[in-house]
Amino acid sequence: MSSLGYLAAVNVVIWIGLFAYLWRLDRRVSEKERSS
């Protein structure tokens, strides 16, 4: 795979993973805020 293709793949993994993580964190914090 070309180095550019490699970098692009790395980015896809990182960004989708990051967003999934942040979305989950945000939801957990919001739940705790509503219950407290």
């Binding site: 180095s3 550019l4 970098l7 692009a8 980015n11 960004w15 989708i16 967003f19 942040l22 979305w23 964190l25 945000d26 914090v29 705790k32 805020e33 407290s36």
Partner: protein, 220 residues
């Protein structure tokens, strides 16, 4: 707000995709390495933004006394540290490709190393003060004192000596030396990373507030 957060992913995907596909690599750079500007500079900007937020909210906390302001300031420093480290890593990768070495003691990169030290010192100071009443005030005093001295950090370092650092976006001629595709992706990335910063800040600050109010409940 929820809609904005949902939209951020496709937006960033578009920006990143564009970063790799749309503009041509800049002249004078090795291979595709100029593309790093779409990641490296926004990270540096986010780190600086964090400092500003921390300083403003530290002042607000000392003035008004609302603990939420301290939560924001501390969260800003934590997120700023994250982006600062990312700035150093992306910068180092770029340096390796362009000049063959991981670190060159260029004034601008050194000033970001110092910023990372500063954020770490702030967090260490917070951890070392046990009294929860005094901790936010001591931390705020440090943050503001650092803010007063910050111009010397950022101007003394990038002195008149010749710098390896590629010419900055805002250059002596006062014009922006980028072609249209590059400019579009660059400012798009800046906006995207800023949004990312504020989202991270929001999560961290709210979590800190929950921890703090949880603590107060336990003490009663």
């Amino acid at each position: 707000m929820k809609v904005l957060k949902l939209l951020l992913l496709p937006y960033m995907a578009a920006v990143i995709g564009a970063a790799f596909l749309w503009p041509e690599p800049a002249k004078g750079f090795i291979g595709e390495s100029s593309r790093i500007v779409f990641f490296h500079v926004p990270c540096a900007w986010a780190s600086t933004l964090a400092f500003i937020v921390a300083a403003v909210y530290s002042a607000a906390f000392l003035w008004k006394g609302k603990p939420w302001y301290d939560d924001i300031a501390a969260a800003a420093v934590r997120i700023g540290l994250l982006f600062g480290v990312l700035t150093l890593i992306t910068g180092s990768l770029f340096a390796r490709v362009m000049w063959g070495s991981w670190w060159n003691w260029d004034p601008r990169e050194s000033s970001y190393l110092l910023l990372v030290f500063l954020y770490s010192a702030y967090l260490f100071l917070r951890a070392a003060v046990e009294d929860p009443e005094r901790r936010p005030r001591i931390a705020a005093a440090y943050a503001l004192f650092a803010a007063v001295l910050m111009p010397f950090l950022t101007f003394v370092a990038p002195r008149v000596t010749a710098s390896l650092h590629p010419q900055t976006v805002i250059n002596p001629q006062g014009k922006i030396l980028m072609d249209t595709p590059t400019r579009a992706v660059f400012f798009g990335a800046m906006a995207g990373f800023s949004a990312l910063f504020f989202w991270l800040l929001s999560i961290d600050a709210r979590a800190a507030r929950l921890r703090r109010t949880g603590e107060n409940l336990h003490r009663d």
